[in-house]
């Protein structure tokens, strides 16, 4: 499968889609926010004031107010420190790293599985479609929280726990979208002509269906990146996810819950960064959707819904 060729075609079209996006304020805002977070995530070891503490080394600093080591913001610690005396800023930066890493991995995993399942189901139809969709339904009905509990019980908590729990519950919605795309694309003239020319199914799937199905998925991917970040933070907050000493925004917020009246900085700063990250992803997703949507109108618009619906309901055309 010569994917690079097809990808370059898709990217060629993306170039056309993406460039004008930069004219839109929403996209730029989202891009800046996400960009800043990604930079922080990538360069955390270098830009954190106390990288070792970010990674988990405990340190007790002299802190007049509290014996537990929680100190308010000072020149030494711009965001203050958290309960084991570690620098909060460093912890947050490393926490962002965890969040970004997990959300990227989860979404990549979900996209890969979702595309594979959805495109195959949509393209081949029939019993393959039915079988794959029932499997998808099963996974769709798993709330990620319950799955996470089960996995924690089996594997013990940690990075992998979150990855599997979220990865395995997130792909169904990608699969459904991919399937809808495949259903529509396989009826397009160029696919029919390719089949008539004797092109193999595998080739059609990889070089025709896949590149054209990615566009609508792009929107879902960008919005879901934000949703995964939140879900991951939630899991960690409940203790089902990443465990200390690994830095994680959800964990930090969980720790701060008890101290919220006395240590305002403890909850505020991680909260701000988490919010910025999620809003950034959402803005990106929204602006891409606004751009791509008119093209989607063809298959998500009323004519697509109206006619099959009428057919299902057995409504006849008037003579």
């Amino acid at each position: 499968m010569k994917v690079p060729n097809a990808l370059s075609g898709t990217l060629g079209r993306f170039g056309r889609t993406l460039r004008p996006l930069f004219h839109e304020k929403m996209f730029v805002a989202g891009f800046v926010m996400v960009g800043a977070m990604v930079v922080i995530a990538v360069f955390a070891p270098w830009i954190s004031p106390y990288p070792a503490q970010g990674e988990g080394q405990t340190a007790l600093t002299t802190c007049p107010q509290s014996a537990a080591g929680i100190c308010p913001p000072s020149w030494a610690h711009l965001f203050g420190t958290e309960q084991t005396g570690r620098d909060l800023m460093s912890r947050i930066f490393f926490g962002i790293r965890t969040s970004v890493e997990i959300s990227l991995l989860v979404v990549m995993l979900a996209t890969a599985i979702g595309l594979a399942v959805g495109l195959t189901a949509g393209y081949f139809g029939g019993i393959v479609d039915e079988a794959l969709m029932r499997v998808t339904d099963v996974f769709l009905s798993f709330p990620h929280l319950i799955l996470a509990l089960v996995i924690v019980a089996v594997l013990g908590p940690g990075f992998n726990d979150v990855l599997y729990a979220l990865g395995f519950t997130w792909w169904p919605s990608f699969a459904r979208l991919a399937r809808a795309s495949a259903l529509e694309i396989r009826n397009r003239p160029y696919v029919k002509i390719a089949k008539a020319s004797g092109v193999s199914n595998r080739s059609i799937l990889g070089r025709h269906i896949l590149p054209n199905a990615i566009s609508p998925l792009l929107v879902m991917i960008s919005v879901d990146l934000g949703a995964v970040v939140l879900a991951e933070a939630g899991l960690s907050f409940l203790g089902l996810g990443v465990r200390p000493p690994t830095a994680d925004l959800g964990v930090i917020i969980a720790e701060s819950a008890n101290q919220i009246t006395t240590a305002w900085w403890y909850a505020l700063f991680p909260g701000i960064f988490l919010t910025v990250l999620v809003i950034g992803f959402n803005l990106l997703g929204d602006s891409i959707r606004d751009r791509v949507d008119p093209r989607l109108r063809g298959f998500m618009g009323t004519s697509f819904i109206g006619r099959p619906l009428a057919g299902r309901l057995g409504l006849q055309r008037r003579e």
Binding site: G9, P189, Y190, A194, K195, V199, P211, N212, E319
Partner: protein, 345 residues
């Protein structure tokens, strides 16, 4: 020397319609027992309106859609059920040009990729492919710099040329063209039709030209079949059809053009065409035909030879010839002659 290249025999294509369980299965009878022959090096036209089944017929002949029953014979060989290697070899002799040029090209692919796809599928080595793609593009009048272009960078006429280049790249003998110029402006249509005619003589092609546009069909086709609701109602040479159509539906169709000949009574069809799901019993046209009699609602007329190469499916040809209208409510004469753009031929 006249040789038959393609022979279609009793071709049938029904589409099952999903109905609720326990109810009778319904079918859309898109193509119902159609037979005709296409000569080598000729342009065979298929005329009909929407719902006539003409696109389905075109796709069934190439087995893009598999026929429900009947035979397609090419060069004396029955190709209807061919499989595997034999089928691949046969399909390399055919191509299909679709109506909407923009949607017949993959928007994520460059012109070069689109045009070379049939070659890749046939296993032609990549070195040879580019050369043949260039030859094909040259034949349709597109210079080399089009190789790297994407469909959205092309005009309608250019896109259609690319689609034709792709259809030509395996040197087919038989091409099905499904309304290739309907989506194009008049001036571009003229350019493209000229190109198609030039290609036909240059490469010795045989065309199956499907269209609802009578003027185009009357211009470029040698022989024409008129379709109504899945059946061929008239089949004859193009000049003959326009000079003296015999079937009432053909007459009604031709009455819509300004170049109607005076050999028949022109009239307008009333009402809407029936659905291909529940075609009328007997002759499918009987509900709208001004010459319909009792037999027309009982018995389907067979496509029968009237003279030489002229075939018509009608029970009441004598009434039609005399202009003896049987059902005045179904008859509305052509309204006053107006000047048409046919001032200069």
């Amino acid at each position: 020397m006249l040789t038959t290249l393609v022979s279609v025999q009793s071709l049938v294509k029904y589409f099952p319609v999903s109905t609720l369980p326990l109810t009778k299965k319904q079918y859309i009878r898109a193509v119902d027992d159609v037979s005709f022959e296409i000569e080598s090096n000729s342009v065979f036209g298929l005329v009909g309106e929407s719902g006539s089944g003409k696109s389905t017929l075109g796709m069934s002949m190439l087995r893009i859609i598999e026929p429900t029953s009947g035979k397609v014979v090419m060069d004396g060989v029955d190709v209807t059920h061919m499989k595997g290697k034999e089928r691949s070899k046969w399909s390399s002799q055919l191509s299909y040009v679709y109506q909407n040029p923009v949607s017949s090209l993959d928007p994520a692919w460059t012109v070069e990729q689109s045009v070379s796809e049939p070659l890749a599928a046939a296993g032609v080595p990549s070195k040879e492919r580019r050369e043949r793609v260039l030859q094909s593009l040259d034949a349709v009048g597109l210079p080399q710099y089009f190789l790297g272009r994407y469909p959205h960078e092309l005009s309608g006429g250019q896109s259609q040329r690319v689609a034709i280049a792709r259809a030509l790249v395996r040197r087919p003998r038989f091409m099905v063209l499904d309304e290739p110029t309907s989506a194009l402006d008049v001036s571009i249509q003229a350019q493209l039709l000229n190109l198609l005619m030039d290609l036909q003589s240059e490469f010795g092609l045989t065309y199956f030209y499907i269209s609802h546009d009578l003027n185009v069909v009357g211009r470029v086709c040698d022989r024409i079949a008129v379709m109504y609701l899945g059946k061929v109602v008239e089949l004859t040479d193009a000049l003959d059809l326009f000079a003296a159509p015999l079937h009432p539906y053909s007459q009604a169709l031709l009455s819509t053009t300004p170049s109607k000949s005076s050999s028949y009574l022109g009239f307008r069809l009333t009402g809407e065409p029936p659905s291909p799901r529940n075609p009328p019993g007997g002759c499918r046209f009987n509900t709208r035909c001004p010459y319909a009699t009792e037999i027309c609602s009982r018995e389907e007329p067979k496509l029968a030879e009237v003279k030489g190469t002229h075939f018509v499916a009608c029970h009441n040809l004598d009434l039609v010839a005399k202009g003896k209208i049987q059902v005045p409510e179904n008859f509305r004469p052509v309204i006053s002659e107006r000047p048409g753009p046919g001032g200069t031929a």
